[in-house]
Symmetry: C2
Subunit: 475 residues, 2 copies
Amino acid sequence: MSSMKTLFESEPIVVNLGLKEFAGNLAERGYEVTHVEWKPPAGGDDELVRLLQKLRPLAGQIDEANRTAVERMFAVNPVLTEIARAGDVVPGLDDYTILHAGPPTSWEQMCGPLKGAVLGAILFEGWAATLEEAENLAFSGKIRFDSCHHHSAVGPMTGVLPPSMPVFVVKDRASGGVAFASLNEGLGKVLRFGANGVEVLERLAFMRDELMPFLDTLVRMAGGIDVKPIVSQALQMGDECHNRNKASSALLLKELVPHVPRVDMPVEAVERCLSFVSSNEHFFLNLSMAAAKVTMDAARDVDFSTLVTAMTRNGTDFGISVSGLGNCWFTARAKDVDGLFFPGYGPEDANPDMGDSTITETSGIGGFAMAGAIPIVKFVGGTSEDALRFTRSMYGITVAENSAYGLPALNFRGTPTGIDIRKVIALDELPVLNTGIAHKEAGIGQIGAGVARAPHECFVKALRAFVNEYVSEGE
Amino acid sequence: MSSMKTLFESEPIVVNLGLKEFAGNLAERGYEVTHVEWKPPAGGDDELVRLLQKLRPLAGQIDEANRTAVERMFAVNPVLTEIARAGDVVPGLDDYTILHAGPPTSWEQMCGPLKGAVLGAILFEGWAATLEEAENLAFSGKIRFDSCHHHSAVGPMTGVLPPSMPVFVVKDRASGGVAFASLNEGLGKVLRFGANGVEVLERLAFMRDELMPFLDTLVRMAGGIDVKPIVSQALQMGDECHNRNKASSALLLKELVPHVPRVDMPVEAVERCLSFVSSNEHFFLNLSMAAAKVTMDAARDVDFSTLVTAMTRNGTDFGISVSGLGNCWFTARAKDVDGLFFPGYGPEDANPDMGDSTITETSGIGGFAMAGAIPIVKFVGGTSEDALRFTRSMYGITVAENSAYGLPALNFRGTPTGIDIRKVIALDELPVLNTGIAHKEAGIGQIGAGVARAPHECFVKALRAFVNEYVSEGE
């Protein structure tokens, strides 16, 4: 039917690949244009294309390993069993040890809020009496700093965890694995954003002296709290269990409440505890993180797996770990967050992206489940369509869909789960992370919330290391 | 540019109005077809077209009256102030009076579940000792039956309300108006579905003796509970506050919980109350209904207004009232519900549509807010797209959008609010109602849930009455 002759006789019908602008220009001129989304593989980077090609012969093995890793994730059944003093349950969290979010760092390299939180933790522990003494101690080398992640723990923002803080203890009923997370302090001036004044220390003392025994008693009386059903319900109730935890926090409270009358504590203390928990719409966040941590730890150390097992930031660096590559961190400078700022603050005040809370995205919720949490766009910016788009775009870089976490707005499609570093590089699509924004100076606290992307460089480094590890020298 | 000649030279481009099938047939044959949704006005009914035409000259006055009515609705600020014995607060609810859902009816005309609930209420009040005695009493004419709606009250399903039952008391802070609703008994065998056995009566006694003083104390200590903010949040958390009340019930509990330690009741009683409320995912429903009732009563008696102020069913008849038409009921036979049945039951077991709970749809939530409650399709059938479609279709028959109730899935568009009988008739689009399905026999209880439509005939009768009332004889 068609020939060169008819081609030039009729109006052109244009198929446009890649840059949308060309399609727009032609459409404006009245031509019929079909636009096809397309990006060159691996952003057109020759080295990355070569690295991906080197993995081609291993594709079967890698896919199989990733299936194994993600099946282990899905098998995890996390249950909150107790609330305990961190030093009593977190392995290696001894006196004069302070854990922090993100990949390992040193006092000298720490960002402002992290330093502020470390000083607060030293005061809270009574290892120093003044901020000056605390700073001298931090500088002296007597304090051992380490990543929460190295101790089965996670913490939001600075993630600072000294031994006397209470932690959620989350056990995997299936494997017996365990993970820990600090308890959420609420909003305003809080240690996790680097504040360390009297009100911060008093709140931490209340959490240690009253909230810890109160919650521990309730959780034990409830016979433990299954976390997965709460997350599953909350994803249908506007939460993504990272930046929005309103439904999950209310559902958790609902599970605990029937046991309140049996708590043997003074009425005033019970009142303080109930008010604290019921007024904190992010109370579930840290529990969500501990559950995500125990889930991702189950997926570690699967040979040939390109699955990301952690994404985390210390406020200076962003690090990822990969199942087939053991305990290595692949790091890059943490990026800025694109979001909405509280009145009086702007991007120039913001610390770069920070905290262990991206363990939620690593496990397939948080930013990956934005389609379940459309109301969040009021908090981080954007439209309801953006929320759906964020989730949809993550299906491309993940290896499975979590049928336990169905998203109503996507007709109950499961959340995109299990990030494959090959897919991230090949599609040049970086993981979407929901996050709070901290002021870059210690002591000021949260100044906004938004969406960030994991740095490309982390995935490049991981891919290089993976090729190094698994592709024999001959090729 | 175009002429008859060119018309026949090129391929036809078809615009199809109305029946979609024609467009499909042409499209299958390869023609370019644009389908336009279209129905003849008023379903093509000549009488209805004439009635609507008679109202044309009054359009300005009617639109203005409807604006007034809907503004009164939006101004209502409903607050739960106390939980009290119905006979002590509901006007005219004296001994030997029993209120019921829907338009007025008599013992002889009552459907099976309503009769069952009436007998249960008589036993609960101690007016009879056996079911047989109760039936004789009901039949004797000694009991005065009346619609809840005639006493500022509403009740779900049978809506049976005798004097000793506890009720939510909801006051409008703005106007001082007040409305009442019974407390939700939970699922299974319950009075509102016509069950009247020992477990039903024991539960009602617990609700009267323990739950009423417990909740009343909490509500008073909380200084009252504002209902609108809970509805507003819950619509962003998967509830439509009629058939799904999971988030709203949890949010209500969260408001009450901090006051629990100060309740001066035996520990066992407090435990029973907390367990009862925390395990009932529909506990908020009756409060939602009372708030909707006080809202709609504010919109009553606006001259020239075609706004629907109540839609309700007694299990036999469906009735609506209209703002400009006083206290008249415009009734028709209640319809069947299209929904999902619990295992072992089917449409042949179902009682027709029943209850006052459609006051929620009348006020712009419930089925009208389905787009805020996509998870509900798992309960009533359909897909997530259906949920959006139900809400979208209701914008056509309503006069306003409630900006206080933004729907995330529709990019925070306000719920369609204020049903205009003219629009219902003109578009031939009937209000969407979410509802439970009761077994047609007394005592069996809920057998499913689904979606119903208000009967067309109610709106036809109301339109006739409106024309009669407001259009002068000359025309």
